[in-house]
Amino acid sequence: MKTFVGIDLGSTTTKAVLLDEERKILGRGITNSRSNYDTACRVAGQEAAIDARFTLFRREFGDDGEAGRQVEEFLARLERAFRLEQFLEQLGDLQQTCMEQVTGARFARVADGVRQAIGEVFAQLRAEAPALFAPGATRKSDFFRDIAGSRYLTIAESVAREAALPYDLLLNVYDKSIIAVENRPPSDNLSDKFDAALKRVTAENANTDREMQAAVEKALAIELEETFLVGTGYGRVTLPFSKEHIRSEILCHGLGAHMMYPNTRTVLDIGGQDTKGIQVDAQGIVENFQMNDRCAAGCGRYLVYIADEMNMGLHELGPLAMKSAKPARINSTCTVFAGAELRDRLALGEKREDILAGLHRAIILRAISIISRAGGIDDEFTFTGGVAKNEAAVRELKKLVAENYGEVTINIDPDSIYTGALGGAEFARRAAEGRLEGLDP
């Protein structure tokens, strides 16, 4: 079947969306942008293709009542099994790369020992892998680097101790290898992994319905043809895309938001390094826009930095800030100053949640200023980008919108991080139809 791909190469993450000919979303994929946009682009695209397979499975089954629930359970098992297969494959690649690093004078005396230790570390990693993908298991991140990295470091430490090897040798091998592995294009054999996953599921559950198995096999047989691809985002210039495959992220975000919420007139996107205020018309055509200028104060990176400063996870900031009843007054959105402001206030005895709530408010204040320069907020208002996932930021936004613009419908889609990629995919679909460079609605 024909598919249309939109890829949004952001400064933090790279997102891909796959559309079908009916403009329906087949799949979404996301990965960390790393230092290699080319690979990030392929990984995100592949992730979207994997997600698309599951959409096709669901379509094959249809979803109704009790049978639907069984299907969902089955598909959830299949997905966990697939992710496990994928993880094991990457683990294998990482192990081999680590082994290849064990050369040169540094390892002259200990090469065999190090190789053995690496073998042991990976054996343990493989052994605990199924538990990582067991039902109900929570993973710190969905990115291979994060999952494998934290476990490798823990296991390597004890293995090194037992083998009386310097830990930093194992650390060094890992550091060099993970970069190589991460920047390598992903392997293409998705169907092999699906086959292996299916086998795993049937082996674990003897009573797996033959019909379900057949349906999955049927859906797997559908070929996904990448008919047209459109790239957007800051990384777009580095890609070997020709001009007709590149669209401005402003246009993509405008169109993506329009597709999610057709009544959208104003879009706010807060991404890793920029904040965009966009006005669109009833067709999703951009009428006006403003972006942060000269500096990225008050963007997503600000929160990343704050999280680092507070030694917290990015996703923990919002919930803590929500506990504040009395947000601190913080006006500066300079990311560098924020660290000083934070320490200063902590030293003065202000509560962490109050400071955090104040920092969230500062970001939103800046976003509101950008929107007002883009012509203000018209009903309906759609908030997108990574920061839209942060409940404290959303709370401040709602307050400020109500104060400044009164009653306005605010749309926030849980998948809003894919807005730009979605718009890109629709441009790709239009371009494939031969419409004026994909710009003619």
Partner: protein, 438 residues
């Protein structure tokens, strides 16, 4: 993150048309004249581009030195960054106009001009335009430094959009009672009004050709870029050449060149050669960025965008609404010239002018390049943008850079916005076409 555009990239084999070469020669000649002033004994008047009274200055055999032009030259030659920092070291804050800081820094570092030779100290500072308050403060600093004669010709602001006889009379009185006597004293040359008339006659002649050239952008495709190319075109007339035979020759020559391009149906010449296809016609408000001038220009011509009219090419005189220097009313015409420059026009006048340009030049929209370190002219630009958008129905966009401070040029950001704008124009065209079809 890797961005393929490198701000330090040096373009090879830059293509220049003959008029551009001629212009460069004239400018080089002028800088030599300034550098030679020490030996020739010529006296030097420093003055600003808006409201510069070159004809009057020449009446006293004074050589015209323009600090903003020096700052622009420093920007183009990638010297201004160091100058700006030098001025900051001397105590000028980050928010101060970067023309001022580049100038102050250049003097602190030996006052070396673009030809690599030392520029002379001014014998007189002639401030003939007051719409930019910073100019006054700038000269205050220079007066402190050079302890020379300072002349302050007050130009009333065109707040109501009209020049009244009182305004002209007020300025003529200042010219007669203050400006001319002081210039006589500094130069030791007696004022001769017939000599002034002669220069004014020559000014008007060159002005006719300048208007013809700038208005040639009404053609499709436009044979010129009225912003990036326009900056070269205004150099002689906004500087030390207005009222000279050189200026007459240059604009006659340029006009012929433009005529040839029109006849051949050619677009403007860019540093990478003749422009291929005109895809977007823009009106631009605000000065360009000079530290990354070529890179900035490239972001336009690579996308097929041509600037067909700009307000910046009117800062040293607005001629396209009919004003010409008039030798029959020599002092009055100088006053009217100062009053009419773009920067002395009120916000509503600027809106009228830009909206008229969008219509008259059949532009796709208005682009504003807002200058970080210029508070007086950045104020109100968003209002201008919205109003022009409303009146013309054409999309507008806003970018931000700086004059000569390289720290405020973020190439990826500017390019991102420009590309978005061009695609927005295209998308709206598509939308409009569909609307018509429906």
């Amino acid at each position: 993150m890797k961005i393929t555009i490198s701000p330090k990239a040096v373009a090879k084999d830059v293509l220049k048309d003959a008029s551009m070469k001629k212009q460069k020669e004239m400018m080089a000649e002028h800088f030599d004249r300034l550098a030679d002033a020490g030996h020739t004994g010529a006296k030097v008047a420093s003055t600003f581009v808006p409201g510069n009274l070159n004809e009057l200055i020449m009446c006293f055999d004074l050589v015209n030195n323009l600090p903003e032009v020096n700052a622009i030259q420093s920007g183009m030659r990638r010297q201004s960054g160091a100058y700006v920092m030098e001025a900051e070291k001397a105590g000028h804050s980050e928010d101060v106009c970067t023309y001022v800081k580049s100038d102050i820094g250049m003097m602190a570092k030996g006052n070396i001009g673009p030809n690599g030779r030392k520029l002379p100290s001014p014998d007189v500072l002639l401030l003939s335009y007051t719409g930019c308050f910073t100019f006054m403060k700038w000269f205050e600093l220079l007066r402190e430094q050079f302890k020379c004669e300072t002349i302050f010709l007050q130009t009333p602001y065109m707040a109501d959009g009209t020049v009244t006889p009182n305004m002209v009379a007020y300025m003529v009185k200042q010219l007669k009672e203050d400006v001319i006597p002081k210039l006589e004293r500094v130069s030791g040359v007696k004022f001769d009004i017939d000599r002034l008339r002669e220069y004014l006659k020559k000014s008007a002649q060159a002005e006719d050709d300048l208007v013809y050239i700038l208005q040639s952008a009404r053609n499709k495709p436009s044979p010129i870029d009225a912003y990036f190319g326009g900056i070269y075109y205004i150099g002689p007339i906004f500087g030390a050449f207005r009222g000279t035979d050189d200026a007459i020759d240059y604009y006659r020559f340029l006009r012929q060149e433009v005529d040839q391009r029109i006849a051949a149906g050619l677009g403007p010449v860019t540093p990478d050669g003749p422009m291929e296809k005109e895809k977007y016609r823009l009106v631009v408000e605000g000065p360009p960025n000079y530290t990354n001038f070529r890179q900035f220009w490239k972001m336009f011509y690579e996308e097929g965008a041509v600037v067909v009219a700009s307000s910046y090419t009117k800062v040293g005189g607005t001629y396209d609404f009919g004003f010409r220097h008039d030798p029959s009313r020599p002092l009055e015409t100088l006053a009217e010239y100062c009053l009419g420059v773009y920067t002395n026009r009120s916000l509503p006048m600027r809106i009228d002018m830009l909206a008229a340009y969008v219509e008259e030049y059949e532009a796709d929209g208005l682009l504003i390049n807002s200058i970080k370190s210029c508070n007086s002219f950045s104020a109100g630009q968003l209002l201008i943008m919205r109003e022009v958008e409303k009146r013309t129905g054409k999309p507008a966009a806003f970018i931000e850079t700086d004059l000569v401070d390289p720290r405020y040029f973020s190439a990826a950001n500017v390019k991102n916005r420009l590309e978005s704008y061009f695609q927005m124009v295209e998308q709206k065209r598509g939308g409009a076409a569909k609307g018509v079809a429906a």
